[in-house]
Symmetry: C2
């Protein structure tokens, strides 16, 4: 496997496009399209929030029931969440309009929305946008980039990546884009992720690979502990790589799963590091855990703690807050067994040993914590399981963005 | 029952005092004493964090095993958490010093600490402080106030209250003080609460009343979801009110429980409203719930959401975030049944009905949310259970206080 240029158009047969439909923003693209020249198998994972946005309900049904999918229509600015029957009707009308424009069945159209909760979508503008998307679409790298930019909300950078790998003696491709800052995400009410691949794989194995991979990638990032109503990851596989169909968990499946993990990890970390107002990416690894479940609970509790995040913003080696967050995670461990390390480009430092301070250099610790990518490693010395979670620091700008957002 | 002046010295036979021991701060009192002229029954509730500070371990043992308690020695500045055996030795030495000074057994001395995690207490200063506390103690209202001020850390106001009520034909008293901003609390690593009363009550019923009351009071406040290593509530009853001992759940017990609820609610709300950096007290009431458990989960999830808290700071009626936080609370409900109201001194407004916007006036909503005390009421229409939680808004100053704290 190797990284290549591009995003969602890197795999054979995928078009992308963007359009300025005036949904909410002025002077920028705010609609995006992913389109496959041939029918795709699709897999998806969606928010666990009880309050599910209309497009989440629509996509769940399409992924579970439709024989194939071929297009994804995305808008930024309005989330179409808490919009009742009118919101569901918008999904239906969007799918019907796209179906007519692209000459495919409405059941082959996925929709995704991100933005403010509680507002209705302006359907006329959305319809006009779909016609523009048809005109603007293309298979170039630049078309993928335009789509990745069109779905941004408070994101400060667009996020896309692509890889190629071997399956059944063929070179196949995978590309992805996403927006937002977490499956557990802030105000924009959404992380949206889209992955396209030309690999030929059975729907069952596609679903299995996605289901297992998100546990270690998108579900391990957090910006503020708020799980959105719209979180969606969609993976489309169109088979145009012409490898023999992957129907069992063989070497080709492993190669596919590895590529998916690479793309998803990259996208997830990029979202965490671009969390609202963030100045640093925080990686938290728990080692020596008795079980994976324990490791996940501990890592997520640390990466979600407002106090840890504020300390990271202050470049303050306030390790008591890390132990404290581990302590209320719900996972059991012996605080007096814990070793803790801080790492970054500036160095690596053991901060506590068996639960008490090593008498480390505060100056070096501050230097380590002043880098834009920081890793915290804790060893609880109970077993072999590990987990890594990603987040970001808590800053003035987070408060500013979220205090001002709607008004 | 009626509110009276004073705090922990309002009940008969209780002394309080403060001293500037130079534990961490300069030019201010940082140690406090509560002392009863006669032995007390004691009840306590402590942090659920796996990482428990040394004084929490000490007090748990004293409350469970000692026949009586008579003194509480408190320090601010250093939490004595994550301090290993040396930290436990500090508790022992503090109790022994106080025992000698006040001529009581060490097992009758409770200790409490609040401040930074991971530092050892300067025992010589602590010892000298205990001698100063002996000199400075008294039964006046001013002595209670001095103690309430000495235990402050990032608190902006000291917090004390007292009431009197009738039991067995006698007028009895209860007073309390606290510091911090939550059982689920920010950086100072602690909410500490102390309640004194001259009521005569059995230890069993004292414990029961405290255990039940904290569920609706201290456990329903949140500043940032970080449960401290030091959280402690101690209630001392010295019986000097001379009412016939309360040994069953009769009218006198109800009067005692009502007074305790009044004092604890007042202290808890005061802490929530004085949350680090807060500009507003946020009260969230869930109505029409199928069970108390569901109501508690929903109310706490809303009051803990960073996005809701940031919206409150921005006076923004961003109700989608409230529904979203209810949605990921872990409690089930039908989003399309929810009614939601905002209330404050400026008015009352229905924001959503059956899960969708009422088309309310944004201007009036902003006016309501610009008050220093805001109430959110949600009705999920599934039953009769209710719960109320308290928190505060999320502000620039929260980030500033917690980004700068240790350094």
């Amino acid at each position: 496997m190797r990284e290549i240029a591009g995003g969602v158009t890197a795999a054979r047969g995928f078009w992308a496009g963007a359009a300025a439909a005036g949904i909410k923003y002025a002077g920028r693209d705010d609609m995006a399209l992913i389109y496959s020249q041939v029918p795709c198998k699709a897999a998806g994972t969606f928010t666990s929030n009880v309050v599910k946005a209309a497009p989440v309900k629509w996509d769940k049904k399409v992924v579970e029931e439709s024989p194939f999918v071929q297009a994804v229509v995305i808008n930024a600015g309005i989330a179409n969440a808490c919009t009742g029957q009118e919101g569901m009707d918008c999904c239906q009308e969007t799918a019907e309009e796209a179906a007519q424009v692209f000459q495919i069945p409405p059941s082959a159209v996925l929709v995704a929305s991100t933005g403010v909760i509680g507002m209705q979508l302006p359907m006329e503008r959305l319809r006009a946008g779909i016609h523009m998307l048809k005109e603007n679409k293309g298979t170039d790298e630049s078309h993928g980039t335009a789509a990745a930019k069109a779905i941004m909300t408070t994101d400060t950078v667009h996020k896309e990546i692509a890889v190629e790998f071997q399956a059944g003696g063929r070179t196949v491709h995978m590309g992805g884009m996403c927006k937002g800052s977490g499956m557990i995400h802030p105000n924009m009410c959404t992380m949206l992720g889209f992955v396209t691949t030309d690999v030929n794989i059975s729907k069952e194995l596609l679903e299995k690979a996605v289901r297992e991979d998100v546990k270690d990638t998108f579900n391990m990032i957090s910006v503020d502990g708020d799980t959105s109503t719209n979180d969606t990851l969609l993976v489309l596989a169109n088979g145009m790589g012409e490898n023999p169909e992957i129907v069992e968990e063989n070497e080709d499946y492993q190669a596919f799963a590895a590529a998916l993990n690479y793309v998803n990890t990259w996208l997830a970390k990029k979202m965490a590091g671009d969390g609202e107002g963030a100045t640093a990416l925080l990686e938290v690894t728990m080692k020596g855990c008795a079980s994976k479940e324990q490791a996940v609970k501990l890592a997520k509790s640390v990466v979600t703690s407002s106090l840890v995040k504020a300390a990271m913003y202050g470049h303050d080696a306030n390790w008591g807050r890390i132990l404290c967050a581990m302590g209320y995670s719900g996972a059991s461990f012996d605080p007096e067994q814990v070793d803790l390390y801080f790492e970054s480009k500036a160095g690596r430092l053991q901060i506590i040993e068996n639960g008490v301070s090593t008498g480390y250099s505060e100056e070096l610790a501050t230097r380590i914590l002043s880098e834009p990518e920081i890793t915290v490693v804790a060893d609880v010395k109970q077993g072999e399981a590990t987990a890594t979670a990603w987040g970001c620091d808590l800053t003035y700008d987070y408060v500013k963005i979220n205090g001002d957002y709607r008004s």
